[in-house]
């Protein structure tokens, strides 16, 4: 039974801008961005390279602060989070899926996944059980003790998704999750993320320029040159 408020805003950006200053030269990465993401929704942030998608993702993750405007993460302005609170929020409430999977090559899959569980405060035994259950659910239990270099692209992406959902986070931030995959595998990943959002009533924000994802998203935000074109 899920007790979350179905209408709860996981993310809310109000007039958010981010300006980078470099040697006296200012670059506006995102400008006056407004959008929100609710539980159970999959939102696609669609735009070409350099459009500001990554900046928005890092803003939402609390990795950088907006230059102006307000970015609310779980109903609290990211400016009001302490460094430790942001770290705990990332560990417990946000899952990340990266473009190149970014599994740690020197650790076996089980350690890659159990690491985030440990960051969230789970003990080693509980973490091991969770990892095994997750891999079973994703039908890749045989990769438990394998190193990332021994996995196929599809297995890597599944392992990366297992890591992202291990703590059952309220929000998943996916940065170009289909970029390095064949179309079949890419769609499989999107389906997995969508089913996670729908079945667990969580939020998924996908930053991508892959038009095939459009059919699976509840909301599509088109972004170009740091500005939202259409919501």
């Amino acid at each position: 039974m899920i007790n979350h408020n179905l209408k709860e805003n996981l993310i809310e950006l109000i007039n958010v801008s981010k300006i980078y200053a470099n040697n006296g030269h200012e670059t506006c990465a995102v400008k006056d961005v407004n959008f929100e993401l609710k539980r159970g929704e999959v939102t696609l942030l669609l735009g070409p390279s350099g459009s500001g998608k990554t900046t928005l993702l890092t803003l939402i993750a609390g990795l950088i602060q907006p230059s102006s405007g307000n970015a609310y993460l779980f109903s609290k302005d990211v400016k009001d989070y302490s460094r430790k609170a942001l770290q705990m929020t990332r560990a417990k409430k946000i899952g990340f899926v990266f473009q190149t999977f970014l599994l740690l090559e020197h650790l076996p899959v089980k350690e890659n996944i159990s690491m985030v569980l440990r960051f969230a405060g789970k003990n080693r035994r509980k973490a091991s059980e969770t990892v095994l259950n997750l891999l079973n659910k994703l039908k890749i239990e045989y990769v438990l003790n394998k190193f990332p270099s021994q996995l196929s692209q599809g297995e890597k992406q599944r392992a990366a998704i297992a890591r992202a959902i291990a703590n059952e986070p309220d929000l998943i931030l996916a940065d170009e999750p289909t970029a390095n995959l064949e179309s079949k595998q890419g769609l499989e990943v999107i389906k997995l993320l969508c089913s996670y959002a729908k079945e667990s009533n969580k939020g998924v924000l996908i930053a991508s320029h892959d038009l095939r994802i459009i059919d699976y998203a509840d909301n599509i935000i088109r972004i170009e040159d740091g500005m939202i074109l259409k919501n």
Binding site: L63, R90, A91, F98
Partner: protein, 339 residues
């Protein structure tokens, strides 16, 4: 470092072995002389009879110590020549491994490492200044690293010095340990120009003298070693951090606690240091054996205490190197993983 430690112990023990193993109850030297390793002491030989007369004195052994050049065919080495009376109880080499201690004026006893180094055996001929002597014995406990003891009769030593009737010190054995304090008091009241030491004090004086000359040298090399080790380890860790930059950024993004990444660096530092220590320990014994074989005068003494001390230094070096390298972690930004 382990070798330095062992060499230091070897020197501090080996250099005073002659003093330690002779083990008289009382040492008498000229006023203001407090050791025999680096100091001058001259006492008249005629005092010997007066010393024998003191109540409680069991035996009096005179020793004349001089630095002398030993030759084979050309000048080869300097020895610390001890002239002793073979008829007396003390003053000679503490232990003979070959030959005899009962030498005559034309014979000499050489230190074992010195004999090994220069190829002397019992029966070899040796040139001591203008005289030719025959090697009659080989001794141990007479190696002070920078110089080795050699032993001749007191009469021969006097001849070499060219000033008869002079000795460096007297070694006194009491008839009973209970008399030692009374004998010391009697000597002090009877002779104005002497220093009187019980054996333990005199031994400590000599160890201290040796250490003040040798410790700063060892200390300097050890400090240089620690600095080099810390620098190398810091560089290795820093390179490691740069190589794993992406992974570390991922870990930061995923919400690693503040102490997690520094913990990894410290663990890496410890792992590298301990692996190095194990290799050093494995190599230490064969290398020491080899060095002692090539340079017999270098004597090492190793112990568990030394190993534990070195491990403590290794831990300290690891932590210092980690602290230096951990500063680089601050320049790894989680945003890097999104690029």
């Amino acid at each position: 470092m382990l070798f330095l430690f062992a060499a230091y112990k070897g020197v501090s023990v080996g250099s005073v072995e002659y003093i330690n193993k002779n083990n008289p109850d009382i040492w008498i030297l000229q006023r203001n002389a407090w050791n025999i390793l680096r100091g001058t002491s001259m006492l008249p030989l005629k005092q010997m009879n007066e010393l024998k007369m003191i109540e409680g004195v069991g035996s009096v052994s005179p020793v004349l110590l001089i630095l002398s050049t030993v030759k084979k065919e050309k000048p080869i080495a300097t020895v610390y020549l001890a002239g002793f009376d073979p008829k007396c109880e003390l003053g000679g080499p503490p232990e003979i491994t070959e030959g005899t201690i009962k030498i005559n004026d034309n014979e000499i006893i050489l230190d074992e490492s010195f004999a090994k180094k220069f190829g002397y055996k019992v029966g070899s001929k040796i040139y001591l200044q203008q005289d030719t002597l025959s090697v009659a014995g080989i001794s141990t406990g007479t190696n002070a690293l920078v110089i080795q003891y050699a032993f001749v009769t007191l009469a021969r030593a006097e001849m070499l010095l060219g000033v008869p009737g002079i000795v460096t010190c007297y070694l006194i054995k009491a008839k009973d340990k209970r008399f030692v304090q009374n004998i010391q008091d009697s000597i002090k009241s009877k002779f104005n120009d002497v220093e009187v030491y019980d054996h333990e004090t005199f031994l400590k004086n000599n160890i201290k003298e040796m250490e003040t000359g040798f410790l700063p040298f060892i200390f300097t090399i050890a400090v240089m070693g620690i600095v080099v080790l810390t620098t190398i380890l810091s560089l290795i860790l820093s390179i490691n951090i740069l190589e794993q930059r992406k992974d570390l950024a991922v870990i930061k993004t995923l919400g690693a606690p503040k102490t997690f990444l520094p913990g990894i660096v410290i663990k890496q530092a410890m792992a590298i240091s301990f692996a190095g220590s194990i290799v050093a320990l494995i190599l230490f014994f064969p290398l020491t054996y080899l060095i002692e074989k090539v340079s017999p005068e270098i004597k090492t003494i190793s112990s568990l205490y030394q190993v534990i001390s070195i491990l403590a230094v290794v831990i300290a070096v690891s932590l210092i190197s980690s602290v230096v390298s951990i500063r680089r972690l601050r320049k790894i930004y989680p945003m890097e993983v999104f690029k």
